[in-house]
């Protein structure tokens, strides 16, 4: 089998992501983690193919490969056929399948953008960097990468780090859950952080899960329906508490997430004032997600108490998204510079002929 002369001439990427394909199709085409080593070997075994990396996450399935076929279109067609056959798609599904077909510089640019988090649902998120690394490692361990893809992926990781280090694309929170985590981190050491949920709404569950995933120490769930509190506490490996008892545990927690459906304030300044004395002024973060609000805004005037309602959280998340959008142009510029440096683009930006 002839080797590709240059990575630019033999590199292809075929894929689908959350922008091109709805989740009900994506889930059908996702490679289970344990099957990825087989998949990379299957692709490498296709006629004319030399190397392969398969990236399969909840938001994307992408095949990166090098080949020695006459044109890139032949490579795209072969990979599309592989996906259709591998996932046994019905003809109507196969016909409706929307894939992006990229070659050489376009494929490299796409990979650089993916690694940098610019192609992610949450702009600038960093989890994808680890996912690409893991995908590459599987291919490397399986022996389906060689000089070209090794070089390309190493370049991609360098670009990803450069984008992260030289811009603030990953900084700031873009969702209410991540704002809650950021705030908790700036008030306490998260590993020592005890969380209480007052009310078990969906949003408070999301916030609590974000805190737990980042290392929060423990969680107490209190809800008018005790059964629901027990269910949620079990799910989060926490403790359930009857709704008429939550006040007694206030001094033991560092973060309160409140989301009851009460039509009046549930947490009042006089309660928190007493709690702060008991807590010996240890700082207390209160996140009020309820509408109408659960926490009297006057609580924020108490020393050591930091109160954020849903509007405040949303405003911070909006700022975070805007800040990331502002950084996008700088990130794209870095990627274009790196494409030029690695020989995918001519000085000035034109494509290097394959």
């Amino acid at each position: 089998m002839p080797e590709p002369k240059d990575i630019r001439s033999g590199l292809v990427c075929v894929g689908l992501n959350y922008k091109t394909t709805p989740v009900e199709v994506r889930e059908r085409l996702a490679f289970p983690e344990a099957k990825v080593p087989d998949a990379v070997q299957e692709v490498r075994g296709l006629p004319g193919f030399e190397e392969c990396v398969v990236l399969s996450t909840c938001n994307r399935v992408e095949l990166y490969a090098t080949h020695a076929l006459p044109t890139g279109d032949h490579g795209h067609a072969a990979l599309r056929d592989y996906l259709v056959t591998r996932f046994e798609l019905q003809p109507e599904h196969a016909e409706a399948l929307v894939l992006y077909n990229l070659d050489s510089a376009e494929a490299a640019r796409h990979l650089f953008r993916v690694v940098s988090g610019l192609d992610s649902m949450v702009l600038g998120e960093t989890e994808i960097f680890g996912q690409v690394k893991a995908a590459y490692k599987v291919a490397l361990d399986t022996g389906t990468t060689s000089r070209s893809l090794n070089k390309l992926f190493q370049q991609a990781f360098t670009v990803g780090k450069k984008v992260r280090n030289e811009t603030t694309i990953q900084r700031g929170s873009t969702s209410v859950g991540s704002v809650a985590v950021d705030l908790a981190e700036k008030v306490h050491d998260l590993k020592e952080c005890r969380v209480m949920l007052v009310g078990a709404g969906e949003m408070s569950r999301t916030c609590a899960q974000s805190l737990l995933s980042r290392g929060a120490k423990s969680i107490i769930v209190s809800n008018r329906s005790y059964d629901k509190a027990v269910e949620l506490a079990a799910e989060m490996k926490g403790t359930a508490m009857k709704f008429d008892e939550w006040e007694h545990a206030l001094h033991e927690v560092d973060v309160i997430i409140s989301s009851t459906s009460a039509p009046h304030f549930v947490i009042k300044p006089e309660q928190i004032d007493q709690v702060m004395r008991k807590r010996r002024w240890e700082p207390l973060l209160i996140i009020d997600i309820a509408v109408p609000r659960d926490v009297d805004p006057a609580v924020n005037d108490i020393e050591g108490v930091y109160l954020y309602d849903i509007d405040a959280l949303q405003a911070i998340a909006d700022d975070g998204r805007r800040e990331r959008m502002r950084q996008l142009a700088s990130c794209e510029r870095i990627i274009e510079e790196q494409l030029e440096k690695y020989g995918f683009l001519k000085p000035g930006g034109g494509l290097v002929p394959a």
Partner: protein, 259 residues
């Protein structure tokens, strides 16, 4: 300008550079680039050390007997403690807040002038240790003051929901409150040892102005430390005490050196 002062001038410029660099990096939102600030602080420290060595050679004794030399020695101790304690207390940005104070102290040292010393008397190691420990304790109080400023800045941003660039770089507010307490305790411990030595030296309190002021400073920080220990005040008030409390030892320097 003697070589010692040339080194000090270079150190001062380096610290100014560290502040400017850090502010620009923060403004650009690229704090990671400001890691160079650590190197600048280290370079400044080396130059400060060079100054103290050369100045010691010039005056043929430990250079801690004039206002300007005392200011430089405290500035040097502040940077030393920053390196020793900053990372263990996980106080990111401490350098950014430390550099301006160090710069200010060194500028004041230049303005005071480096007068020649009186003829050297016999060196008493205990006296030198007493003075050095007292000055290092002042440096610990200075760092407590700086950490107090950091606390108040972070606290204000949290209260007012100003979640900006500086917010993400500053340590958790709880960690800052703990660091203030530790630094005050460290300063108090060092000053207690220094004052304990003064007993061994039989220094007459009524005739030795700096010992009287050292006792006043000790009493002030003992009260602050007690308030912290017994949780009589909120961390915010404690931070204010640490900030305002440092003004007294700072002013006492003038009184002591001009007495």
């Amino acid at each position: 300008m003697p070589p010692s002062q040339q080194l000090l001038l270079a150190a001062t410029l380096i610290f100014v550079g560290a502040v400017v660099h850090a502010l620009l990096a923060l403004k650009a939102g690229a704090w990671k680039r400001a890691r160079a600030q650590f190197s600048l602080m280290a370079l400044g420290f080396v130059l400060q050390t060079g100054f103290i060595y050369l100045r010691g050679e010039e005056v043929r004794q430990c250079p801690i007997r004039s206002l300007s030399d005392i200011l430089v020695f405290i500035a040097w101790s502040i940077v030393l403690l920053y390196f020793l304690l900053g990372s263990s207390f996980r106080l990111s940005l401490l350098g950014l807040f430390t550099a301006p104070l160090v710069t200010l102290m060194q500028v004041m040292a230049f303005l005071s002038g480096f007068a020649p010393y009186p003829p050297k008397g016999p060196i008493n190691a205990l006296v030198e240790l007493h003075i050095a420990l007292a000055l290092i304790s002042y440096a610990a109080f200075a760092l407590a003051c700086i950490t107090g400023v950091m606390y108040l800045v972070q606290e204000r941003m949290l209260k007012r929901h100003r979640i900006g660039g500086l917010f993400y770089q500053l340590p958790p507010i709880q960690g800052l409150a703990q660091a203030i307490q530790r630094l005050v305790r460290l300063g108090l411990l060092l000053l207690s040892i220094a004052l304990g030595i003064s007993f061994a030296l039989h220094l007459p309190m009524t005739k030795t102005g700096h010992v009287v002021f050292a006792w006043i400073v000790w009493a002030l920080y003992a009260v602050i430390s007690l308030l912290m220990w017994k949780h009589f005040t909120s961390p915010r008030k404690t931070a204010w005490l640490a900030v305002i409390g440092f003004i007294l030892p700072f002013i006492s320097l003038w009184i002591v050196t001009h007495a």
